[in-house]
Chain length 492, copies 2
């Protein structure tokens, strides 16, 4: 293989990190906890962004941009919100450097201290609701449906590329509504947008659910989420959508005049997904050879590798490949011919497998003569000979087959690692093996906390869709009554 | 008019600010010097981004993302660079807040002081070259052609929406090359990309030139720029491209092994454009009625306003409009029907004029009967009746006519405000009137500084293209010899 990747079964965590770094997705930077997203990784993120952005616009949202900095006083207006974020934020205190009076280098200029410190946004509810105050006067100004693509900073002590970094890229929707019902509907609509995106584009099965009170976003009345299962059986929260009630409207005094002329506080939602999705993408589909990218997210969908011994063979094969490439591009797929002359085909094969390119085509002298190509699909590694004519059409079909197969495979993995557990003994054993445990819970934060303390498992969500049917039961730990199973798992 | 805009001739600066705010492009935020880019403004910026991004990719560049924060020690490695930016940077010193021990609110937690302060990037050369050090080993790793879309912070004392804000959005290209000649060629290629974009998309004439030594980017050996003229005769620098020599490679020890096996320092360029382009867009084309948007950047290219007295008229006109809208959208244009029932047509006309929509169509009962629409183009305000059949085709042609006319009008304005000036007396008089003054200059920073001190005029650039033919002459102030006229102007 081109680059050594740790065996997934030996060390899942190191395997993940190896893939991210060796497939050129991202790397740690010189700044603690901040990553560099490399061109190949960024190209995948751009495709995620474009697809999500289209879905947001189709559901009536517009993009805007709000300041990176939040005055400290704004930040602390919503009590739960500040409690949730104050311990992990980057604080700007000065606005100038000066030459070190003691010698070389530069130091912070003490005379350039800010009157009020600025927080680098960990999320933008406060700065946005302070702005909405000026935008909203009447019911005619509602709803406001805005999304922002931005970087945010949450000072993390233990970081992992994409999954948990001090700076990350994300989108945050912030909407304002006249009624509670409208805001709830918006929060629910957006979690469904995320679920559709995860399933259709990432080929990643997700459970749509609600968080328990203790897992809610700081300042929310209700948090909806999509939860996915990684290949080590741990859960990963891939997107959240919050019904914020009137909390931020009250903190920032945002009221509107309703049709009857009365003043009313505005209702809010916020919802977000981030570069964390890149981590999920890697963890859900990759194998011992490297990434396996869904066709819709692959920067290169088809790679062509020439097999030759002589210069004459090389040039006639590359010529034919050029013609095929044009046909395939016309069919709407992205193609790369790997014509590097200093590397052997086997090395190239390994490199493109590592990078997860959905389909590899190889053409040698015999293929040239027979009018065929060797086609290998990355998801199954199946190898077949296919005729060069109608190749483009075959590839378009194949991309859809790959998409469906990747989803089916991930779904099958999740389903085979999802268990109904009714006794505490079984829970303690099963949770060590990983997976989703569907259990009855008595609905109290005390029991939830106790289970987490004993097992490190959390309630990932109370499923909303048909993931598990409603049924009565008793809490496995306390024996108290329950009306629905929830999902327990260890999580990223 | 819908909203009162200051007269351009009375107060150009206030007129500009009024337009930006009242056309819903941007507004000042609660954070000193930082703006909120509103949905309508952001939609225009998105179109600029998409067009530039396509041009960057067509010239072989890839996007990536580097950290927001730069360690203070990196920042100071390149001496000129730190001198250029140290006085205007936001400094992060702490990573946690805590409850105020004296009572309510939150304060910075003194125990969470960073060992080394972090600078919020004002530009990313240092963090990127510290990364390139690990990416570049051999000549085979070169060139590296990377662009980043990001936010940056330069602490400004006097700010103006889009033109000068403490935080702004931009793109910054950072390329690495094996030879000086390649890097120079890249810097020149990218300034031409900017020039083409400015002319074709913004409909804004620009002069391509080189900066004098005193106006160069901090750390560059050569800075190329595009300079545009605003309607008050002042210059605006709309994009820059820097040949950085080996300065950053030496500061961060970035060397490659050449084909002969020798170690060589890498050559660099960087180039950028920012949300400042939004300011240029407003200042170049707008008039007393509001914005005039080039078709390629208009979020709404065609607005349709129904004219009616009765509900019956309204519904039959809106029905016809719906059909026309579909035809026009099929032709590739974006269309909005303004069917608000609580506003009069005249109010709507004024609002869409303020927002710069390229073409307005009105349909009343008489038009419905005659099979025509009233068509008004925003750039000239010409009003004509056009038949409803073949309307879409006519609009597509019209967009191109508007584009050409907007460019021609701006070019004519610039040319009629560009003067050859050969005497100091004339210079002192002319500079008060505004415009580009083409003058001989003796090439010394002393004369340049003296002229700036006396008149606030700077050398905008030494033109590179055929803007002014080469000729010998004498400096108007010192009488020393000169071989080329340069452009003097007051500038934003």
């Amino acid at each position: 293989m081109a680059k050594e990747v740790t065996n997934k079964e030996d060390n899942y965590s190191k395997w993940y990190n190896d893939l991210v770094v060796k497939a050129d997705l991202a790397e740690n930077s010189a700044v603690r906890g901040c990553m560099v997203i490399k061109p190949y990784g960024y190209a995948i993120w751009e495709k995620m962004k474009a697809d999500l952005d289209r879905r947001f616009k189709e559901t009536g949202h517009q993009n805007a941009y709000f300041p990176l900095f939040i005055p400290k006083s704004f930040f602390s207006r919503e009590a739960e919100h500040v409690a949730g974020f104050a311990k992990e934020c980057a604080v700007v205190t000065h606005h100038r450097l000066m030459n070190d009076p003691d010698g070389s280098g530069v130091v912070v200029d003490p005379s350039a201290k800010l009157e009020e410190e600025l927080i680098v946004r960990p999320t933008s509810e406060t700065i946005i609701w302070s702005t909405y105050r000026n935008w909203i006067k009447s019911w005619r100004d509602l709803p406001i449906l805005i999304n922002q693509w931005a970087n945010v900073v949450r000072w993390e002590m233990r970081t992992r590329l994409f999954l948990r970094t001090s700076e990350f890229l994300w989108q945050e929707g912030h909407t304002a509504h006249a009624t509670s019902a409208e805001a709830v509907a918006e929060a629910e609509r957006m979690i469904q947008v995320y679920a559709d995106f995860a399933r259709d584009v990432l080929c990643m099965p997700v459970v749509v659910g609600r968080k328990t009170a203790s897992e809610r976003f700081a300042g929310a009345l209700d948090t909806y989420c999509i939860e996915a299962m990684m290949q080590d059986g741990k859960a990963l929260q891939a997107g959240t959508s919050h019904f914020l009630g009137q909390n931020f409207a009250k903190s920032f005094d945002v009221q509107y005049t309703d049709k009857e002329g009365k003043q009313q506080y505005v209702w809010a939602t916020s919802w977000g997904t981030s570069t964390r999705l890149m981590g999920a993408l890697v963890m859900v589909h990759s194998d011992g050879r490297g990434l396996v990218l869904p066709p819709a997210l692959a920067p290169i969908q088809v790679v062509m590798v020439p097999i030759y011994k002589s210069d004459a063979e090389r040039s006639s094969i590359l010529e034919r490949m050029g013609l095929l490439k044009k046909e395939i591009e016309t069919a709407g797929l992205s193609v790369k011919i790997d014509d590097r002359d200093n590397l052997r085909p086997g090395f190239k094969f390994a490199e493109w497998e590592l990078k997860g390119v959905p389909v590899r085509l190889a053409v040698g002298p015999r293929d040239l003569a027979s009018g065929e190509v060797e086609m290998v699909r990355r998801d199954t590694m199946d190898k077949v000979q296919v005729p060069q004519n109608a190749l483009a059409l075959r590839l378009v079909e194949l991309m859809e087959e790959i998409r469906k197969n990747m989803y089916a495979k991930a779904l099958s993995f999740r389903d085979s690692h999802t268990y109904r557990v009714d006794s505490w003994d079984e829970f303690r054993k099963k949770i060590e093996e990983g997976g989703f445990l569907l259990c009855h819970w008595d609905g109290t934060p005390e029991t939830e906390a106790r289970i987490q303390e004993l097992t490190k498992a959390t309630i990932r969500c109370i499923p909303l869709d048909s993931f598990v049917e409603k049924e009565d039961g008793v809490d496995m730990l306390t024996g108290k009554p329950s009306h629905q199973r929830v999902i327990f798992a260890r999580a990223y």
